[in-house]
């Protein structure tokens, strides 16, 4: 039904031994994860009507956000945001009309209650950059104007998955 979680793959890698690990490692390109994901997502976003999805952040923010996500969020939500012990943070099960999230709902939650190990403990700018990464991973295009904390905390833009 859906892909096995990262950790499970890692565990299988251990079972497979050195050859299996090398084989699996070989399938990953040298590109940073954020870029790989961005390419996938942009392909999906490109299918949307041009101009329908607002640009709320810059590509540089999303790249920084990807690093911050990997360091602080991926353990629970999965390296590709696919969900693990915590929910997926991309896709229609996360962001849909039914879920009815605005960007500010998710940002306020993220910046006050995450990471669950030590909520609110990250620098404010990290939360903004992680929000930019989440937008990117849900098919929102990058633009020329950076996302600010004030904008993220007040944005009434609906958070809808715009990938394929």
């Amino acid at each position: 039904m859906n892909a096995l979680p990262d950790g499970s793959r890692a565990w299988r890698r251990r079972l497979l031994g050195g050859a299996g690990a090398a084989l699996l490692a070989g399938t990953a390109s040298a590109q940073p994860l954020a870029q790989q994901l961005a390419m996938t997502q942009n392909a999906g976003a490109g299918q949307e009507t041009a101009g329908a999805v607002p640009a709320l952040y810059t590509a540089a923010q999303a790249a920084t956000g990807a690093d911050k996500f990997a360091a602080n969020c991926a353990l629970c939500h999965g390296k590709k945001l696919q969900g693990r012990v915590g929910p997926a943070l991309t896709g229609p099960n996360f962001a849909s009309a039914k879920a009815n999230f605005k960007v500010s709902d998710v940002f306020l939650f993220l910046s006050r209650q995450m990471p669950a190990q030590q909520p609110g403990s990250l620098p404010k700018q990290d939360y903004v950059d992680i929000m930019a990464f989440l937008l990117q991973q849900n098919g929102y295009p990058a633009g020329g104007v950076p996302l600010t904390e004030a904008a993220a905390a007040s944005s009434t833009v609906p958070l809808l998955y715009h990938g394929k």
Binding site: L4, A10, V85, G86, P87, N100, F109, R112, Q113, Q118
Partner: protein, 584 residues
Amino acid sequence: MHALRTRCPRGRRLSLRLALGGSALFAAGAALAGTTAAAPPMPAYAPVTDARLANAANEDGWLMYRHDYGSTGYSKLSQINAGNVAGLKQVWDYKSDFDQGHEAPPVVNGDVMFITTPKDEVHAFQASTGKPLWTYKHDLSAVGLKTVCCDVVNRGVALYGNNVYLATLDNYVVALNAQTGAVVWKTQLMAPDLGGAMTLAPLVVKGRVIVGLSGGEYGLRGSVRALDANSGKLLWTTYTIPSPKEPGGNTWPNNGSYKTGGGGAWLTGTYDQDTDTLFWGVGNPGPWLATLRPGDNLYTDSVIALDPENGHIKWHYQYTPHDTWDYDGTNETVMTDITYKGVAHKAIVTASRNGWFYAIDRKNGKLIYATRFVSATSVSGFKNGHPVTDSALRPAVGKQVFTCPSFLGGKNWWPIAVDPQTHYAYVPAMHTCMTIKGVDPVAYKPGLAFLDETFNVMRDPAFPNNWGDVEAIDLDTGKQAWHFPSKLPWNDGMLATAGGLVFSGSADGHLYAFDAKTGAVKWKSPQMTSGIIGVPSTWSVGGKQYVGVWAGWGGATPIWGGDMAKDPAVQDIPTGGHLYVFSL
């Protein structure tokens, strides 16, 4: 030793199944249809009757989550005992496809074991050999799992007739044919991702499948519910948070806050056959920050006594009034008869999240005694049989406090066991405190957490080297008899046996067998491939006793554990589900 162990001839099994009525007829047909040459031969399967559940304490199997209606976690099996446990050897194992927390006990009827994985799979095995019989994979592909706080876990199945019952993360109760895994019925209690989820093992009482919803972190109005075991029809719902018109409704502000008041009922209850009463634990209030909901906030952090016929509340006892520290009252209630200060009591006991070990009269809900089993400062003492909280240790917006235990509790869900031979309770304890602070409230939003507090789990200064502990508590005094401190957290349930042993698994992957009287380590397994949070169980097939447990680290500690989760020794615990079964 017991007549029910005898394998029933096929014709007899069928006639019993037919006697269950319409849906059982369907089930019988499905079972017959599945009996093809290609299907693996199913060991004989004796239906789980009311009489067998009532007498589960004397069965050779493990028929329900905590073994019997008293939730004792104690088995009368004694073939494996303090004298020979050193000879315990692995007889079979099974690796799951998941790297999340594996918490369920093996539930065993005859030679058939049923065990669940994260994300709601049920696996049936031949209990003696590990031969796979069937697998049920619940479809969660359209579910966001956004209102699941503490890992995508499941704590096991219930058995009744020829069915197996599962409660799921998207709020289904599913009845499966025990012999084929085919769905007999499924009933969804609420849409997923709006506040509720289910992780508990159901409890079957007199033809009713009893479950409770989780969601105290997500603005749920919690409930305990009963469904007809044969049809899946919802029979009753008892909300754990009263409306303003109901008794206890005046313990909430009259502003609609009861609708998002929490009170998840996320662990399995206990059933007292003598008084026909269910005991069910109720979780924390929502939001966590108490200044937003003045009042005692019933029935959060309480045990409620229910009539299983209609769900009516007979009485309640609140462990933590007006909670602001996430001290769920969901932990087990174990039935035991005690003598305290010379007076005999029919009691239920629990090791509460708030750090106190309670003995409560199970006839009327009156406190018999409460003693600290870890450092506990938020609840500072008792007056007239009710807890007193320290107002100085209540957080507010902009006010941070340091208090004990942390919100993960002196003990979390990992169930205690009670041994009638030693008359001790065995408690997996945690030594943590926390800083906790109110933050500017955010309006409740379905699908997001509803906390309004920030926090950090820290070491208890009184236990600078130990996150975990296994404690034996004398039931007649509430005093500690022995303990086994652990550098790593100890997040596993307890299994006590008539062999004079207490089994429980460590976070570094060893199943331990303690001498029940002294706490001496009589055996520890070779290191498993992951840390253990699966509830161990024991059963006997063909005159041979087995002990089984999931390894598979996860659950709340790595997610919410603050300094404990960031301890490199804790971060290094490998993940991955792996079921181990041992015998002599």
